[in-house]
């Protein structure tokens, strides 16, 4: 398929996702399973990465502030801004494109290879709604994961700052409270919701429309990761331009 055909097929898949809904009793189970797989299952790695990257951001900032005229609380301020505006929503989404995206593509792709999707279609089930919609709903809880990432990123920064001896806890806390703009949180969560949609649908697209065998499932997972990341980066630029400039 050419790029243009792929884009068309993607949007048709998105429309199909909302048509002919699966019975609620079945859908409920699928949504809960996907919440467990995609959201709960990601909290550990997100928490680990957020805490340590928050710490690294703080150390880098502190080490680069050499001018004695710059107040020490700037370390906390810079960490908060980096974590809330970019690190948590965007950087974590790229990591999720690898973790969750590959999982979605390979699980749907394996179902395609083993004719399980054909089996659903033969039964008269809207396979796209059955497979993709629960992932989309589950990933609507993604802002919850990002809020954990924000909290742990700032906490990691605090730990690095205090235990590394870069600045005092008081200065750091003053920093994270300085010039706080509540709209930045709205901006971050607006991005997160858009990225969640991309994380649910783009890997599903590559899994659902894949052709071939086990080797192609692996290739589809890689392609899915690349394109999900590219789309997230592009949307990040567009949304930042629209919401912050």
């Amino acid at each position: 398929m050419t790029y243009l055909e792929n884009i068309g097929a993607y949007f048709l898949m998105v429309i199909e996702m909302f048509r002919k809904p699966t019975k609620w009793a079945v859908m409920k189970t699928l949504i809960l399973k996907d919440i467990d797989d995609l959201i709960i299952g990601s909290i550990g790695i997100v928490a680990f990465i957020s805490f340590f990257v928050g710490g690294v951001v703080t150390i880098q900032t502190a080490l680069n502030i050499t001018n004695p005229l710059i107040p020490q609380y700037l370390v906390g301020f810079a960490t908060r801004q980096s974590v809330i505006l970019e690190f948590a929503p965007t950087f974590i989404s790229i990591i999720m494109a690898g973790k969750v995206g590959s999982f979605i593509t390979s699980s749907i792709g394996s179902m395609r290879v083993t004719e399980q999707i054909d089996a659903l279609e033969v039964m008269g089930i809207n396979a796209i709604n059955y497979l993709v919609f629960p992932k989309f709903i589950a990933l609507m809880l993604y802002p919850f994961v990002i809020s954990i990432a924000m909290f742990l990123g700032i906490l990691g920064g605090l730990a690095a700052c205090v235990y590394g001896g870069f600045t005092s806890m008081d200065d750091y806390i003053i920093g994270i409270q300085t010039d706080f703009i509540p709209f930045h949180i709205i901006y971050a969560f607006a991005k997160t919701v858009v990225f969640a949609f991309v994380l649910a649908t783009v890997p599903s697209f590559y899994g659902y429309f894949m052709k071939g065998g086990a080797l192609e499932v692996g290739k589809a997972s890689t392609t899915s990761f690349v394109w999900t990341s590219v789309i997230i980066i592009l949307l990040n630029y567009i949304l930042t331009q629209l919401l912050l400039s």
């Binding site: 002919k20 009793a25 394996s110 083993t114 033969v122 039964m123 008269g124």
Partner: protein, 255 residues
């Protein structure tokens, strides 16, 4: 009754089905045979509605598939059961959940009613104690029988089987063949089987359609296969020395 008229299907410039016409009757086991690439699977997938034919008509008990609305097509598909070549069992579900799946999707039965029905069909396919196993824990023969159980659990009118014997040992293959034939008669279904297995052709083929290069080369019963003078069919059916000897003996006996 399923009636197929002048069915054609191409992929790009390659014409796979070239005007196939035939019909399938209730309570009969119909076998579609032919070499790899002859169009058997495409034909079956057109009947299932997984592929849209380029031209031609497929009607199910008088209802022309291409003229049905989306909801009518969905209802019709609920009357179809399919046994895929690899079983196509949902690997995240137990055997019991796999068999129960069509009931959960299409009926309003409560849990105990569904459980009863699953017990009946699993017993019918000789798997009364396999409920809690995962498909990966089942042998090839068991997986095929679970696939049959899942296909018949909702009392379908039409049963489609894509090479149900592939990968099975001869003894298990006979068990699966007999099971399909018995169920077809018991449930009064129209059963269509894609097969390469000549044993199946001779044992359970009440009607046999031989496809060659996308056209219907021959149609008849298993008895007719012995008497046919169609060279392409005899070449295909009696390609092994064993079957050649069987045929020679049969013809000698008939004289």
């Amino acid at each position: 009754m399923i009636v197929v008229e002048n069915l054609e299907k191409s992929f790009g410039d390659v014409k796979i089905l070239k005007g196939i016409s035939t019909s399938f009757e209730k309570g009969k086991t119909n076998l579609i045979i032919g070499q790899s690439g002859s169009g058997k699977t495409v034909f079956l997938k057109c009947l299932l509605g997984l592929f849209t034919p380029d031209s031609g008509i497929i009607s199910y008990d008088g209802k022309i598939y291409s003229e049905l609305s989306d909801n009518e097509k969905r209802d019709l598909r609920a009357d179809m059961g399919m046994v895929f070549q690899g079983g196509a069992l949902f690997d995240s579900m137990t055997i019991e959940e796999n068999v129960m799946f069509p009931l959960r999707m299409f009926t309003k039965q409560n849990k105990s009613e569904m459980q009863d029905r699953v017990n009946v069909v699993l017993k019918r396919v000789n798997l009364p104690d396999a409920h809690k196993k995962m498909p990966s824990e089942a042998s090839g023969g068991m997986q095929k029988r679970v696939a049959i159980a899942r296909a018949i659990v909702n009392n379908p009118k039409y049963l489609f089987c894509d090479e149900p014997n592939s990968g099975l040992d001869p003894k298990t293959a006979i068990v699966v063949d007999n099971l399909i034939q018995e169920i077809t008669q018991e449930y009064g279904m129209i059963t269509m089987i894609n097969s390469h297995d000549m044993n199946s052709v001779m044992e359970i083929g009440e009607k046999i359609i031989f496809l060659r290069n996308g056209i219907k080369e021959w149609e008849g019963t298993s008895d007719d296969v012995f008497k046919t003078d169609n060279e392409a069919l005899t070449d295909f059916v009696y390609s092994s020395n064993l079957f050649k000897k069987v045929r020679a003996a049969q013809l000698k006996e008939n004289k």
